[in-house]
Symmetry: D2
């Protein structure tokens, strides 16, 4: 694994916890972790259970005892590492967004195809049991034709103007702001559940344009280390309208300025036969409405997706005993390893990352030029 911050922790935990709950055909061995700061990477290796460490990510890729490379570094480094890994014949998992630009993403996708390696992008929210149930119901036609997809991803961790200028707020490192960080997740859920997006129109906004400078630090946090201010070069908030290829229409909003919403990743889908609502903060629940339920007894059912019959949950606890955020990564890696063993390309993969990047680019171009953009 290359990188060791927030996502490094989440992925490490998943590798470690996977064999406990699932009988996957391939059991991950946590060989090595890489990071530039030796002290930090030693601590991460120790704490997260990696057998060894490297301070140069290239070393990891050179190692013969490693089959899978997991990239959890800041966004601007994804493409170089991924392409090198692909050329070394390693299977690759990478964090989202795939790259900073469509062009980068295309080169990455070409590399994995050419080198015939397995690849995956960490849109982990697909792997929430309630989201998988949503997918299943849609595929079974239980909602009929889809009319609406409505997604909000609301956070508030930079509401305070004194929150420092961390890497996620710098375009040169993160590629984009709220859009690429969390809006990308909503786009992935839309593509997974409804289908491809044809065109978009958007607006983006940076409410707080200058913030105290912070040393480059990982995670979501960081402390301002002096009174200097620097310019926020990414979006604080983005909203866009979309038309899907299948005729559905979508509304999307992502922001880090919605006070009281810590990680409010939600969607609602309305189809001719029913509707579904979901909220990551109560991720085990799914609200499902069927228009053909008996008249007078129609209403959203609050389904606690923790029963044996629900996706993934038979691996865990009895019904009503909920799981959390970290389990989405276990499911993702479980599916990735299954794909390697059984030789099929699991989704979401670099192709999904590439298409997602095209949507992100279209949204950004639309905001810049105030026009509708075809994806």
């Amino acid at each position: 694994m290359i990188g060791y911050q927030f996502m490094g922790k989440a992925h490490s935990h998943a590798y470690r916890d996977l064999p406990f709950f699932f009988n996957s055909k391939m059991k991950p061995v946590m060989k090595a972790i890489a990071g530039r700061n030796e002290q930090a990477v030693i601590e991460a290796a120790e704490k997260y259970g990696w057998e060894s460490y490297e301070t140069d990510w290239r070393k990891i890729i050179e190692r013969k005892d490693i089959d899978v490379i997991d990239i959890v570094t800041p966004n601007h480094t994804h493409s170089e590492i991924a392409i090198a890994a692909a050329e070394a014949g390693k299977h690759i998992i990478t964090e989202k967004p795939l790259a900073l630009t469509v062009e980068e993403a295309e080169r990455m996708y070409e590399a994995v195809q050419k080198n015939n390696v397995h690849h995956m992008i960490c849109h982990n929210y697909r792997f929430v049991p309630a989201v998988q149930l949503t997918k299943k119901l849609i595929e079974e036609g239980r909602l009929g034709k889809i009319y609406h997809f409505r997604a909000n991803y609301l956070q508030d961790f930079i509401l305070d103007p004194e929150f420092p200028l961390v890497w996620r707020l710098k375009k040169e490192v993160s590629g984009s702001g709220t859009l690429g960080d969390i809006g990308a997740h909503s786009i992935d859920l839309a593509r997974f559940l409804v289908g491809e997006i044809k065109e978009v129109v958007s607006m983006m906004e940076t409410f707080i344009k200058e913030r105290p400078i912070a040393e480059l630090s990982g995670g979501l946090g960081g402390k301002a280390n002096n009174s200097l201010k620097g310019t926020v070069t990414v979006d604080d908030a983005v909203a866009f309208l979309a038309r899907f290829e299948n005729g559905a229409i979508g509304t999307f909003e992502a922001t880090r300025f919605a006070g009281g919403n810590r990680n409010k990743n939600t969607f609602e889908i309305n189809g001719e036969k029913g509707s579904i609502k979901w909220d990551m903060e109560n991720m085990n629940n799914l609200e499902v409405y069927f228009a053909d339920d008996e008249p007078g007894l129609q209403g959203f059912r609050l389904i606690n997706c923790t029963e044996e019959i629900h996706p993934y949950t038979s691996a865990y606890w009895p019904a009503g005993h909920i799981i959390g955020y970290e389990h989405t990564f276990i499911h993702l890696i479980y599916e990735f390893l299954n794909g390697i063993v059984d030789n099929y390309q699991t989704e979401p993969n670099f192709k999904d990352g590439l298409i997602n990047q095209k949507v992100l680019d279209a949204v950004e171009e639309s905001a810049n030029n105030k026009i509708w953009i075809e994806v």
Copy 2:
């Protein structure tokens, strides 16, 4: 009152119920109701408690014993009646939308100004106690600078493709579809709570393009009377992005195709110091978040706005005993009559209706031309 369908009932009830709960300085006397169908208007007069009836609305306007004209007819008739009433020196309450076009709305606004009569437009949702509390908190600066306004108005009453082609689905009678009918309410709430909208970009969609023909009927319902189909000439759904003059950004969606949402009129407002959420289906509740609440104890407060201290509610029942939809009209008329007595022009009035109409027109033009439109 002119008209006697859904809104006729709501307004009639409000006149009748107002003196029971409020000590308004002016007590309404329900003089006369007008409608073209004599039998129906007789029944309405009897049931709703009007002293007399007319089958020609002009007669109402001519009557000397009538001071206030209340217009609850289909949208395409508003302007003619309102202008005539203004010219006769009557005070006027009219249903929304004010008119079919901005031009019509402007003539109406000119007429009431020129004739110096009181005028009001029935954006009744302003008068929900929880919405009034929202207004108060914003005016007191409790949310600080507003960043986001997010409004959905979701209904599902025409989800069934066999639902007939009632007047609300015909552009020549209703002016617009979902946009003018319910989207107009969200726009009014946005203007009331956040401020004026500067520009919009939108998309509109008609999912079901043909429906069984129904006889012209009022209300929301109606029965298809034969197997002929006619063309739906209004929007089934509309979504738009907006920029407010004060820098806030807004997202709006209105649809009649969101299964399971009977009348889901909601908004969320995010400001630098707090957030507020509201949902008409649970209209007595307000969710309020303050970013400066004690750390660790921050969260949306669920406030049941039924206490003596809350707007309007001291007129009713002890705390926790909820009121309903119909009470919004009582409050609206209460405010209108206060304005007449104390000689100030209550809001929302024809000016608000005119501005609302301008936004509606901008939204429609944006959808037609796929560009951003300044209001």
Copy 3:
């Protein structure tokens, strides 16, 4: 009507509003209201729309132009007035609890039977559409055999120790405290929905034993008029366990010391085939669970009981437009008048009031003697 405080207002409104919404065969004419304080009763008559007033309730009963007596006075006066009214051949509606003791209640029930008048007791919560739907589902066997009834009635209006010693806190006037005031409603719902209670065991508590003395005043409120303190002679809170005759078991709790719960009147019913949950603060909603819903899609449905198909609601507004507390009284009086016209004895009536009183007495006796009591 005799009395003019909180319940006087609620009943007056119902008489007045009934003909607007319902085509009842008998239309109430609001003849006269009685109260001892002439100024207050004049104001009440004026405001609530009564044609005349009396300062002596006996005058009302003597009047030939009055057919129905509605008793909304403090509890200790119910029996004398009701018996007099029955002997005068008047139909009677009375507030709950029926009386202070079982003995009083029995005499009242005898009087109405002997004089062959119609009688009703105002357990208005039966007439919430969602509660009526609950009854219907149970009668249709949709829940199967009932196992559990679980009712809480939580208020907090006397949480403050400085809240004064109003009549509701004096045993000689009110008969009992929380138990008779709100616990009686839960008992009525239990009897209505599940069946007769066989035996109970209870505990009662008075948390604040002394309060500032208030002048006798009606309603829930009142102001302390001096620094003297008096003794609270009723229960602040009561909880009891019950066994129903049909084998179900019940748990009940009523309190005025549950901070944040303004009028939290709730029940949950669990049967072999399903469950139902209801909460008066969101009275239009009903949560219904069916154990035979498709596996994986089971969950409580949130039903907004405002559709045409739901009990009473076709009289009001389109689906999703909620009604409130006051409407329960409209439905109650509608049913009472129907019973008079069609000559059947509507429920709940004095018989229900009597049985309720027996349960109340059993609960109180159980608390006093710390033993199970058969009803």
Copy 4:
């Protein structure tokens, strides 16, 4: 660890996952697991990551390389194993309930005291961050004097009469039914949050008295293996009233017959200054009401207890990224190990288990004799 079923899995996971998230001074080494069925215990050891296994639990206790014994066997075996472990000088964690009877529990408590070992009982719900926050608020006096504790623990996994006669339904193995299994958790939360229980009165019920015979199996499930029926010898449901030593009153209900409630472990606490509500199915949330919040802005705050400032949660993910059921065990073991290292006796321990058992016995005796019982 002795035992390997549902709780064996939960505890094993906690040992394994603890060092990943927490820097505890003592890092657990998973030495050995014991179980009678060799094949099953080998699989458990392999899957859960134990270094070795034994088929005789005495062997585990004899081993010099083991310091902590974790007992997750059926209830009737707890005392023998725990006493042997204590005498061998091992620290002990055991599942609840501590024993089948008070007498057994007393001997266990004596044994750990005499042998000076650390001991803990797995009332894991204490270690939910939201519950810890509740404790903190109460200790800080934020609720003032406590008036009410109201706990429901509702499940429905045996609602189906065809659910087989597993060991949890046999008194000789489990000691009691719903009461000891889940009611014991509510009692522990009551003691933790409010204080000691002085006296109780209860009722217990077995709704389905005969069930298909199942082979002895662990976990919650099991399959009926023939058409024979056996007698259910434990309670399906229990409800009791309680008086606490500090004057608060409590109501408790536990059942496995509340359809739609998979694992609805809830409490509400009302004090003179505020109230708190919690529900295990949404365990990350806490609802908190303060009576001294600004008038008009009072209401339950919905606190998502996933912030850095909340108990335990800084070890995990950013705010709004929830944790689940399994994490409660991590916290419990973390506290236990801290106690060993720093040489203090962590709670809840055998003393709590003993007192809990006394309450359980009192509840059962009360149900049998229909009288109030002092604990």
